[in-house]
């Protein structure tokens, strides 16, 4: 008799962490298919785990992108900057300076290695947890911070929650609060690139939880039908707020395995292995750029922090989980690899940390000089009525005028001015 199956995380608060459910492959063992191989001839890469860095911190196997030490040092710098930035911003939120924050702690390689493996003209459609891509593409921290502060220099003009950045000049799409919507949009962007005979490709990221949304299917399907030049990333960080990846359908089969069913290559990769993420992204980018169509990449990683500053993960998972995560920490692993290669040292690392921290602190100082949500100069409130449409329709003009009246009336009636 059938009984309803309910996927279970291996552990709950109080339990000893247990990651035996994570299917691992040793570094270097997964062969790298030809860039133009047919999807159906490479379905195994959807089930294994592409890894380049081995336990002795050496880079091994066909997926090794063979990067110069300098490139790796740049990657390490971007990852570390991402982490320090996240850390500081989290703390400013705790201090009440910003209203909300979401960290990417533990997932820095996912964003940084991928963005580095792509070209500057490639268009990125991220979720809220790939802040590393802004570091790679060189967005000034102050600009990110002003968005977090919703201050007078906020790129979103006060209209979005913190973290919902955008950067057209840097070819990074606007982040949506609605999950997964960017996934098929990236495919449409890539279809347009193909229609227009451009050779830029698109890349997009969603969480494994978000792959349950309809737009996941829309993206895969249209990409498969039109062989769109796009890289579709699923960041499987094991958790979607409080629900385990099994709830999103990760129990029977990997998320990468969804690709081959649509005729799209699926690759499952160690998301905490900078070199593996780089290698896989590079392969997929080359495939897309040479007319081979889309690739679905599952990046296996772990959400080391809370979902957001509104979340408390100790309610639903063991506190010390991350220490036992079998794929380690992406920053540590790249650092150790560089050290093993003799191209880095603990001392250099400490200096880099200090340098980047100072940079973040200085940027913050500058950013707050432009105001904050509840302090200092504020954005002009009439910005609220702009950009709904290109032009300014009558109803919004009238409403904007009424707001001015309301503010007068507030004073008259002894009502508080509209700020919290």
């Amino acid at each position: 008799m059938p009984r309803l199956h309910v996927p279970q995380p291996p552990t709950r608060p109080g339990d000893k962490p247990d990651f035996s459910y994570v299917a691992l492959s040793p570094a270097g063992v997964i062969p790298k298919p030809e860039v133009q191989a047919r999807s159906r001839d490479m379905e195994d890469v959807a089930h294994g785990l592409v890894r380049v860095l081995d336990d002795r911190h050496e880079a091994v196997g066909q997926w090794n992108p063979q990067l110069d030490a300098e490139d790796l040092q740049v990657g390490l710098r971007h990852m570390l900057l991402t982490r320090i930035f996240d850390d500081r911003m989290q703390r400013t939120q705790r201090q009440g300076k910003i209203s909300f924050y979401m960290r990417s702690y533990g997932e820095e390689a996912v964003a940084v290695a991928a963005a580095m493996a792509l070209q500057p003209g490639d268009m990125l459609f991220p979720s809220y947890r790939q802040q590393g891509i802004y570091m790679v593409r060189g967005k000034p921290l102050v600009e990110l911070m002003c968005q977090l502060l919703s201050n007078t220099r906020d790129m979103c003009k006060g209209r979005q929650l913190p973290v919902m950045y955008h950067w057209n000049a840097g070819r990074i799409f606007s982040i949506s609060g609605n999950l997964t919507t960017q996934f098929p949009q990236a495919v449409g962007w890539a279809m347009a690139a193909a229609i227009r005979n451009e050779d830029h490709i698109a890349a997009t990221w969603i969480g494994e939880g978000s792959s349950a949304e309809a737009d996941f299917h829309h993206g895969l399907l249209f990409a498969a039908v039109h062989q769109a030049p796009v890289i579709m990333n699923i960041v499987n960080n094991q958790w979607a707020i409080s629900t385990f990846q099994g709830t999103a359908g990760g129990e029977q089969r990997s998320f990468a395995a969804r690709g081959p069913g649509y005729g799209v290559p699926g690759i499952r990769v160690d998301g905490n292995d900078f070199l593996a993420v780089y290698g896989v992204t590079q392969w997929a980018a080359q495939r897309a750029r040479t007319g081979g169509g889309p690739t679905l990449i599952e990046l296996v990683t772990y959400r080391a922090s809370a979902h957001s500053t509104s979340d408390d993960p100790s309610r639903y998972r063991p506190k010390e989980d991350y220490e036992h995560w079998p794929l380690g920490d992406p920053v540590e692993r790249l650092k150790n690899h560089l050290i093993a290669r003799g191209e880095w040292s603990e001392k250099q690392h400490k200096e880099l940390h200090a340098e980047l921290d100072a940079h973040v602190v200085a940027s913050w100082k500058e950013a707050v000089s432009f105001g904050a949500l509840n302090e200092g100069p504020r954005l002009d409130r009439h910005l609220m009525f702009e950009d709904v449409y290109k032009d300014f329709p009558d109803n919004l003009r009238r409403q904007s005028e009424q707001l001015a009246e309301e503010i007068k009336l507030n004073a008259e009636l002894g009502l508080a001015a509209p700020k919290e």
Partner: protein, 340 residues
């Protein structure tokens, strides 16, 4: 000038803009090789190729999502939803993305997609081929909502929509694709060639988005309507011999309310008519807005004519459709000046 029905006029609008602007692309279910189930895209793929006229998978959500991405990348997609009744799977991409992108990115990104969708009843399509869901989209700020009522406007508005920098939902009242319809199904069909608005320039012209039109001047009562109901209202007013001023709204959102209010201030009476379900339909907004502006001029309550608050039932097509009798009842109520 040529004689065109609405299908030809819409087709011509796409043809003209595709010829002028290589970034215009057409997509939708069966729109390519086949030319669309209503033949509105007939011949476009042959002329502009398979890369500009795409047969899409049956996936309204995917169509709108990919159209947004294409527009972000500089194309100008004109996406057909085969029937307005099938637009619901795309509501998230429309409400959360298409309508919001300019705002949330402070103008850094835009996606000026045009979504065409045949709407309305009177074709025995039953509850899933007859809907008029415009009010769901007029409540969503950031998208414009348009519905033409004749071939001339259809072409001019569609060209304007394609050249507009904002996203637009373009509803096409399919009952009048081939000719105006006065609500009486027993009368022989009338082709557009008998109607002045069937004269359509072959080249490029625009009818402005955001402007209503007085299609019949009059002094006794203002009828505010759009789509197929323009003709039903005309016929009913004629039948009752009422000197009605009939305004074709044409753009529901953003609404150009001032000319409508000027007319109501002049006549002191108002009837609003649409095919969509009455409750929370677009007529509610019209009524509320007019009442706010024109209260002191009104000599009788504003009346609404609409579809019933039920799905559109196949066997009761003409009992459901807001025909001349329903309009006539409202006109009589609006013309009465005493408390009933």
């Amino acid at each position: 000038m040529a004689q065109m029905n609405m299908i030809q006029a819409l087709n011509s609008a796409m043809d003209v803009t595709m010829a002028r602007d290589p970034s215009v692309v057409v997509m939708g279910e069966d729109v390519g090789y086949f030319g669309g189930v209503f033949r509105v895209t007939d011949g476009l793929q042959r002329k502009y190729g398979e890369h500009r006229v795409l047969d899409s998978p049956i996936s309204e959500g995917g169509i709108v999502a990919t159209a947004i991405g294409m527009a972000v990348n500089g194309l100008k997609p004109v996406a057909e939803i085969q029937f307005a009744d099938y637009i619901y799977p795309a509501v998230d991409q429309i409400a959360s993305e298409l309508a919001r992108l300019r705002y949330r990115s402070a103008g850094d990104f835009t996606s000026p997609v045009v979504i065409r969708a045949p709407c309305g009843g009177g074709i025995r399509g039953g509850q899933t081929h007859s809907q008029s869901p415009e009010a769901i989209f007029t409540h969503i700020c950031g998208v414009k909502v348009v519905m033409p009522s004749n071939p001339y406007d259809a072409k001019g508005l569609l060209i304007a929509a394609i050249e507009d920098e904002d996203p637009i939902i373009f509803f096409e009242p399919k009952r009048i694709y081939n000719g105006p319809f006065d609500g009486d199904p027993n009368k022989p069909a009338v082709p557009w060639s008998t109607h002045p608005k069937g004269d359509v320039p072959e080249g490029h012209y625009k009818v402005p988005i955001g402007k209503s039109e007085i299609v019949r001047p009059g002094g006794a009562v203002t009828i505010v309507t759009y789509g197929t109901m323009v003709y039903v209202c005309e016929a009913a007013a004629r039948k009752l011999n009422i000197d009605a001023e009939i305004i074709d709204v044409r753009t529901m959102s953003p609404l150009d309310i001032d000319p409508i209010c000027s007319s109501v201030k002049k006549t002191g009476r108002c009837v609003i008519a649409h095919e969509a379900t009455r409750f929370c339909g677009f007529g509610a907004e019209l009524s509320a807005s007019i009442q706010e502006e024109c209260f002191w001029y009104l000599e009788a309550p504003i009346q609404r004519v609409a579809g019933w608050d039920t799905p559109y039932p196949h066997a009761f097509e003409w009992e459901y459709f807001p025909g001349q009798a329903r309009v006539a009842l409202a006109l009589r109520a609006a013309m009465g000046d005493e408390q009933q």
